[in-house]
Subunit: 209 residues, 2 copies
Amino acid sequence: MSKEKQTRNAEATKAVILEAAEKLFAEKGFAGTSVREISEKAGVSGPLIMFHFKSKEGVYEAVKAAIMERYAGSKRPVLDVGIPASEFLREFVEAMFAFYRDNPSMLRLSKWDNLAGEQDPWPGEDEWHHMYEEYFLQAQARGEIRADLTPMNIFSFITGSAHVWWEYHDHFLRHDENQGRGGEADARFLNELTGFVLRGLSPGPGDLE
Amino acid sequence: MSKEKQTRNAEATKAVILEAAEKLFAEKGFAGTSVREISEKAGVSGPLIMFHFKSKEGVYEAVKAAIMERYAGSKRPVLDVGIPASEFLREFVEAMFAFYRDNPSMLRLSKWDNLAGEQDPWPGEDEWHHMYEEYFLQAQARGEIRADLTPMNIFSFITGSAHVWWEYHDHFLRHDENQGRGGEADARFLNELTGFVLRGLSPGPGDLE
DNA sequence: GTCTATATCCAGATAGAC
DNA sequence: GTCTATCTGGATATAGAC
């Protein structure tokens, strides 16, 4: 290495670009982001981005691939299928709540994608769904939770509530009259959602009316 | 009116433009839609759009205003606050489910807006929330539904589930193994959501575990 | 009110020096 | 690997005839 170069480090450069791009794409979507903005935020030239990722679309795909890889193993919690339903549900509700809370940029990306018509699930998504639904099915067979709901719907009740809480988080907080600090409303929501689910899925009689 | 003109009718022209623009904006978002596309779909020239709406942004604002006006009075169902909770809840769940089903373009628009950082609620939105939450509060006071959940959260459980069902409708259907025709899964979802809510909000004991 | 023609700008992408 | 300079296309927007 006779001549030490300025910054020549392809991997590091790509990482910087991807980091900037992820923020911008999450913030403004694919169509709303220009490679010029990415280049400025990343502190590199526009053509360099082209060199590394071939096209703007290439950057977008790389961003998604990076996110997917980042969450590949730890994306959604693996829950022990042997535990009793009440415990499983508590953990599941909390896991979903935390997942949506902790991955805002991934979620924004997937929402942009969803609106743009991208309907392929993110890799691994199906397996997670299936795993949880399988658990619900078994718990129903054991009589631990009511059997008149299809597992997919149970899944969507829970994830839907958590999803929308974070999607409209600001909106909800603004209209929460007795909001203390932000964290309080979040904790209360999680707590109440858990209680709601536990009762809503209980097998016994006890319906309203 | 000595000279009958070709199509000179400002209001009609604007309406045509707005109709085309609403579809395109809902479909592809603000950034993803060009006024050229709008002009082609509407069958008018680009400059004419500028003439009537001043700018692309002007068209966007006008589209939103038109939607807001369209749904001003009839946007969300007014439910009789005097009816018993179980009946109210059935109607409420169904109303939310139907609302999300029947207004896809309005919802897509609001989602694009939401992602783009527009966080002002649509006019009248707050009043609706308040109305429903007020009902929950009264039902709680009467002992008809459990009192340990805040009305806002109850509201979000229900709307969240319905919201996400339609947001990821295709996705859910694809993974519904025993899906008959599309309508069946929808009806089943509504039915099960209703059942889930009725039990989840019941005041009695009966929690899982 | 509506059009055609056009100005102006900014996007993504390429060429080629270093 | 990284840059500067530049091409090309498509975008919004304007001018001005009809």
